[in-house]
């Protein structure tokens, strides 16, 4: 079988691996990661010292260790603690935890970038702390954070390829499986690379559109 024929025959299986593996892995991890990130940011900004320190420790560990090592630890630690999960949910947990650390710092910075007057205006109209956050501060902070967060998102698409190592059948793992009997790894990995590139290019394009649309409400 020649290279070209292999590439054509494997195209739809790879697209399917992206649609069923890579993309939901990215979306789920990013969604859970963002929730964690908000909590991490609030912890880091808390006036309660112990809470702030826990947040700081979390960020430090996540940023100071390789993602692959985090993935391995969660993959092997969960069964050790008696939690039996398929590779896929383990990977979602690992990537979420990782996004939580990085995006947490982004969101913390964005919250600090919302002008102080917004906190005061919210307090003056008698909103409590949580409503101030939810209705006034976070919507503005997210607008500020969208450019760096979309970089995190695009980075995550590529990082999910690490899940292939723990046997999650996403895009890279699928191309590996297809390549193994043919020994034509070069063709298959090149094709996987092209599909990653395509996904990321589409996302970058979408990112620019969103940024233009949101930038007009940011007043800092």
């Amino acid at each position: 079988m020649n290279h070209w024929q292999l590439a054509v025959d494997s195209f739809w299986p790879l697209v399917w691996a992206s649609v069923a593996g890579t993309i939901p892995l990215t979306l789920l991890s990013f969604a859970f990661g963002l929730v964690l990130a908000v909590l991490v940011a609030l912890a880091r900004l808390s006036s309660l010292k112990p809470v702030a320190l826990i947040g700081q420790f979390y960020v430090s560990v996540i940023r100071g260790t390789p993602l692959l090592v985090q993935l391995f630890i969660i993959f092997y630690a969960l069964p050790f603690m008696g939690v039996l999960l398929d590779p896929y949910p383990s990977a979602v947990i690992a990537f979420s935890v990782n996004v939580g650390g990085y995006a947490g710092e982004t969101i913390r910075g964005a919250i600090l970038a919302v002008p102080k007057g917004q906190w005061e205006a919210a307090a003056a109209v008698t909103l409590d702390y949580w409503r101030t956050l939810r209705r006034v501060i976070l919507p503005q902070a997210f607008r500020i954070a969208i450019p760096p967060l979309s970089n995190t998102f695009i980075g995550l698409v590529k990082d999910t390829s690490l899940a292939s190592i723990v046997m999650v059948t996403e895009l890279l793992r699928r191309s590996q499986i297809i390549a193994t009997p043919t020994y034509d790894f070069l063709t298959m990995y090149t094709e996987a690379a092209l599909i990653y590139w395509l996904i990321c290019t589409v996302l970058s394009f979408a990112q620019k559109r969103v940024e233009v649309r949101l930038s007009k409400y940011v007043t800092v």
């Binding site: 002008p115 007057g117 917004q118 005061e120 205006a121 919210a122 307090a123 003056a124 109209v125 008698t126 909103l127 409590d128 409503r131 209705r135 006034v136 919507p139 503005q140 607008r143 007009k216 409400y217 940011v218 007043t219």
Partner: protein, 284 residues
């Protein structure tokens, strides 16, 4: 009894004693203006009245809700005090991601638990009152500076407060739109709102206020009838300050000359208008 009573209020930032024993009574339905040099503590005083800033000691009473700052008041007590005040900021601080109407109804709905239906109805009434009913759906960045500040006033009124606090509401505005905002404020005064206004608009103050207060270095130096305090001050510090406000270019060694006694009002407008001195334009 006064609607607002401030007793022995002290506030420091570190070593910097910003308020040093402020006493002030504001009767219901009256307007008090506060003037004083930059950094003397006017903003801090207003912020202490509604608990945005926490004084070390002193007591603030608004309409029988009293907060004694010595005895570490609870969040609930501060909330109750704040709910009796509407605050208009120098830099409006509108919520940029919400429309004019949404800005106005935010407090009633999410701070006070009013129904959306009621809040929208009342909010539209207030926007009407500040002349912006047709701009209800506009975002703050689509409004002019004067319109933004009028939305800020409507937002403060929407809380149905007992007391309105204005912190230099026109200082950040272009001179030609200052009048729109002052007119809205004068109408509020006529409707009987109790207001405390930090401003350097001396002309507005003498026309609208019932009481004028001159502050310097965290203390009230002189207070009383606005005509007297602002046009014929007794204290040298007040005289000095007002002379500068009325004529920023004046030689600071020259003695104070009351604008009512001379034609100082007709003096040429200042070529350079400093932030603090821009009340002159409105007066000339």
């Amino acid at each position: 009894m006064a609607l607002l009573e401030i007793r022995e209020l002290h506030k420091s930032f570190g070593d910097n004693q910003v308020l040093r024993g402020i006493q002030l009574d504001v009767p219901a339905g009256s307007v008090t203006v506060i003037v004083g040099p930059s950094g003397c503590g006017k903003t801090t005083l207003l912020r202490c009245v509604n608990g945005l800033e926490k004084p070390e000691s002193g007591r603030v009473t608004i309409d029988s809700t009293s907060v004694d700052w010595v005895s570490k008041p609870s969040k609930q007590e501060i909330h109750e005090l704040r709910a009796k005040t509407g605050f208009v900021f120098q830099a409006h601080h509108l919520f940029p991601h919400r429309t004019a109407l949404e800005n106005v109804i935010e407090g009633p709905i999410y701070g006070q638990g009013k129904s959306r239906e009621w809040a929208v109805g009342y909010g539209m009434e207030l926007l009407e009152q500040v002349g912006l009913a047709d701009r209800a759906g506009a975002f703050p960045h689509e409004l002019s500076g004067g319109q933004q500040q009028r939305v800020g006033i409507a937002r403060a009124l929407a809380l149905q407060p007992k007391l309105l606090l204005f912190d230099e509401p026109t200082s950040a505005l272009d001179p030609e739109i200052v009048g729109d905002v002052l007119q809205v404020m004068r109408n509020l005064a006529r409707q009987g709102w109790t207001m405390v206004v930090v401003t350097h608009e001396i002309h507005f103050a003498t026309q609208v206020a019932n009481q004028a207060v001159f502050m310097d270095q965290g203390q009230i130096v002189e207070q009383g009838d606005p005509q007297q305090v602002l046009l014929n001050p007794k204290q040298p510090r007040t005289q000095e300050f007002l002379r500068r406000v009325l004529d920023p270019l004046a030689d600071s060694d020259a003695p104070f000359v009351s604008p009512t006694e001379t034609s100082a009002v007709d003096a040429p407008a200042p070529l350079i208008s400093s932030g603090e001195g821009h009340g002159v334009g409105g007066h000339a």
